[in-house]
């Protein structure tokens, strides 16, 4: 198992370097110069030369790439043109929001999608099955942002005044300021240390932070704000997962060893969960891995609809404003995240199916 993981790790290095290069090239592909995009169309050539000089953009492209690679390995992504602050700073402010949203959406899609798929497979062709599949097809056919708009309209306007009313935008109600959990715990952390940075990063995930600090008022409010975007974002992966779980379970349930297990007199529950599910999991894991890509793309749209200041939103703005620093940093983070994710998917294959490990 260890050799397998090590080999996979080594194989992902060229992929990451390739993505770094592609990111660098793509950011430069966007036409028109960053100077005029930042300082306005009327910026004089003199001002622009200074601007390019300051950001190292007047050097030849290969030199820029070398400088950029060197800085990335030091963990420095440079400054954002637009915000005049280190990109890592922006990253640490925005990333928690997107991570929280994606995790919430992923949990919903797994917790609802897999059981629905299993039930439809076990009760093949029953009304549960028909309804689930119809709903799964509708789910993948809806544009994420349109579902978001419908949810926002329904839960914030149609249900206004009822206990089911939910806020259509933002992360917390105005006036509510959560205390970071490390301050509640009276931890003495020095600003700038690694532990402080990590603690601050975690404290920016409102739901997690409010659980850690025991602030139930903030918790309730944060959850209420999270429900709609998370549900909107979870729909497509949920539908895909439900469909895959169903077809994969159907295939496994038709096999001889399942009949044997039933003939031995095992309970339905044991047969389905212990015998069938484990063998059906492999394709499900693949779909989960694949739908995470869509989750991140969907986050851009969801964050736009629900007015959340996450990574997706700022990446979109940075692309429009040609803020190279942010575009590169975020793409690198996303790429590394996906390479890591593929690694996890591969490792869980090996864990689930010993045959893969041995090859």
């Amino acid at each position: 198992m260890t050799t397998y993981i090590l080999r996979r790790l080594l194989l992902s290095i060229p992929v990451i370097i390739g993505i770094l290069f592609a990111t660098f090239a793509l950011a430069r592909l966007i036409p028109s110069d960053p100077c005029r995009a930042m300082l306005g169309e009327k910026a004089t050539d003199d001002v622009c030369d200074q601007f390019l000089e300051r950001h190292g953009l007047n050097k030849p492209i290969p030199v820029q790439f070398a400088v950029y690679m060197g800085e990335i390995f030091k963990g420095d992504f440079g400054n954002s043109f637009r915000f005049s602050m280190p990109v890592t700073e922006i990253l640490s402010q925005r990333l928690p929001i997107t991570i929280e949203l994606s995790l919430a959406a992923l949990s919903i899609s797994l917790l609802v999608g897999i059981p629905l798929g299993i039930i439809s497979a076990v009760r093949h062709n029953s009304w549960v099955d028909v309804l689930t599949m119809l709903w799964a097809n509708i789910g993948v056919s809806m544009p994420v942002f349109w579902l978001g708009l419908m949810l926002a309209y329904f839960f914030s306007l149609t249900l206004k005044g009822t206990p089911f009313q939910l806020p259509p935008s933002g992360r917390l109600s105005p006036g509510l300021i959560p205390d970071p959990f490390f301050e509640v715990w009276n931890m003495t952390l020095t600003e700038g240390t690694t532990i402080y940075i990590i603690a601050e990063f975690i404290s920016r995930m409102n739901i997690l932070n409010s659980i850690l600090s025991g602030d139930w008022k903030v918790f309730k409010d944060a959850v209420q704000h999270m429900v709609l975007p998370a549900v909107a974002l979870s729909t497509i992966p949920m539908a895909l997962i439900a469909r895959m779980s169903r077809s994969s379970m159907l295939e496994v349930l038709g096999q001889d060893y399942i009949r044997t297990a039933r003939a031995k007199g095992l309970k339905q529950r044991t047969v389905v969960i212990r015998h069938a599910l484990r063998n059906a999991l492999l394709p499900i894991v693949t779909v989960v891995g694949l739908s995470l890509g869509g989750l991140l793309g969907g986050a851009v749209l969801t964050e736009t609809v629900f007015n959340l200041a996450g990574v997706g939103r700022i990446l979109y703005e940075a692309i429009t404003a040609r803020d190279y620093g942010i575009v590169q940093a975020f793409t690198v983070v996303i790429a590394v995240f996906f390479v890591a994710l593929n690694l996890i998917v591969d490792i869980s294959y090996a864990y689930l199916d010993p045959r893969i490990r041995l090859n």
């Binding site: 992929v15 390739g18 993505i19 592609a22 793509l26 592909l29 966007i30 036409p31 119809l134 097809n137 509708i138 993948v140 056919s141 809806m142 544009p143 994420v144 942002f145 349109w146 708009l149 419908m150 926002a152 309209y153 914030s156 306007l157 259509p168 895909l240 469909r243 895959m244 077809s247 159907l250 295939e251 038709g254 394709p283 779909v287 890509g293 869509g294 991140l296 793309g297 969907g298 851009v300 749209l301 736009t304 609809v305 007015n307 990446l315 979109y316 692309i319 429009t320 793409t331 996303i334 790429a335 996906f338 390479v339 593929n342």
Partner: protein, 328 residues
């Protein structure tokens, strides 16, 4: 999944008289998929709506000029005095932010959205089939190189690729004339951008098929006869892998329509005055509460179309490619 169905009596009768053509066999299997049949009906209605609907619903007096306009000119007529009107007898779907009739725009927007869907898939199929067939047939370092590129493109979320590419090549293509109407350059850009960001799955499917087919005896025989590589690929290998190509390109049309909606929603897609279902939604967030008709109808059209195409794709998969699994 190993249910054995005995042939119906009619099938036996059919065999007695005449063998069924592959087309008849396909239709017979397709018919069994009730949802697909229903979706096919729905799709025909939708196509009629966007094809002929303009003759019925898109005509009226454009107040600012006082002219009587028909077809797309009416859909693009902006009467700011009439802006943001809720649905009424005169404008059954209401009017948008600058007073254009939303019903007429869903018709002409539908033409654009479907055109984008179909042509983007043509680009997707050309790229995907070429990459997949070349990688699978030649193998070795060509295969390695092409598949690594494919994987790298799969890793980057496609929406980011869409945004970057439409930003990079957007706005540089002039208007073109096609099928009797003018398409703004942004439509052409979007077609290529969507096509170039969605071929990866198809390439993998084609490659897998070619890999298994090229070991067959008839391919060895062709090679022994001195048939050229190009002829083997196009005449012998690809026709035998046509089923998954048809299925995944049908589903590809649905994906392309949604992708267009995403890019246009972010303001980077089809540029006004040309309507598309996607760009009709781009100011929706601002009018979420005050003008729900603005985003309800175009979104509904997207959903219904994509839903129908997805069901038809599922039915085609059952009919053409019974061995394949879904979602791969």
């Amino acid at each position: 999944m190993t249910t054995i169905t005995l042939p119906e009596t009619s099938a036996i009768d059919g065999m007695k008289n005449q063998p069924l053509t592959p087309g008849q066999l396909m239709w017979r299997r397709f018919r069994k998929h009730k949802a697909a049949l229903f979706a096919l009906g729905g799709m025909i209605v939708l196509l009629l709506y966007i094809w002929l609907g303009g003759l019925v619903f898109s005509r009226g007096i454009c107040a600012p000029t006082g002219e009587f306009l028909t077809a797309e000119a009416y859909a693009n007529c902006n009467d700011t005095a009439q802006k943001l009107q809720p649905p009424s007898r005169e404008h059954p779907f209401g009017t948008d932010t600058i007073g254009r009739d939303i019903l007429a725009r869903t018709i002409y927007g539908g033409q654009i959205s479907l055109t984008i869907g179909i042509f983007a898939v043509i680009v997707e199929v050309v790229v995907g089939v070429l990459v997949g067939a070349v990688a699978g047939y030649f193998g070795g370092w060509i295969d390695d190189l092409l598949m690594r590129v494919t994987e790298a493109m799969l890793i980057i979320p496609s929406l980011f690729l869409l945004i970057v590419l439409s930003k990079a090549i957007g706005g540089s293509v002039p208007e073109i004339q096609f099928l009797g109407r003018a398409f703004s350059g942004s439509v052409v850009v979007i077609i290529f951008v969507i096509g170039f960001t969605s071929w990866m799955y198809l390439a993998r499917i084609v490659r897998a098929n070619v890999l298994s087919l090229k070991e067959m005896d008839y391919i060895s025989a062709s090679r022994a006869l001195g048939v050229s590589d190009a002829r083997i690929i196009f005449k012998h290998l690809l026709p035998n892998t046509i089923a998954p190509i048809i299925v995944s390109s049908t589903l590809g049309v649905a994906n392309a329509i949604t992708s267009e909606a995403y890019v246009s929603f972010l303001g980077l897609g089809v540029q006004t005055p040309t309507a598309s279902w996607g760009n009709m939604l781009d100011s929706a967030v601002k009018y979420l509460q005050t003008a729900p008709w603005l985003w309800l109808f175009p979104g509904l059209m997207i959903m219904l179309t994509v839903l129908c195409i997805n069901f038809i794709g599922d039915g085609l998969r059952d009919a053409l490619d019974p061995r394949s699994t879904r979602n791969v």
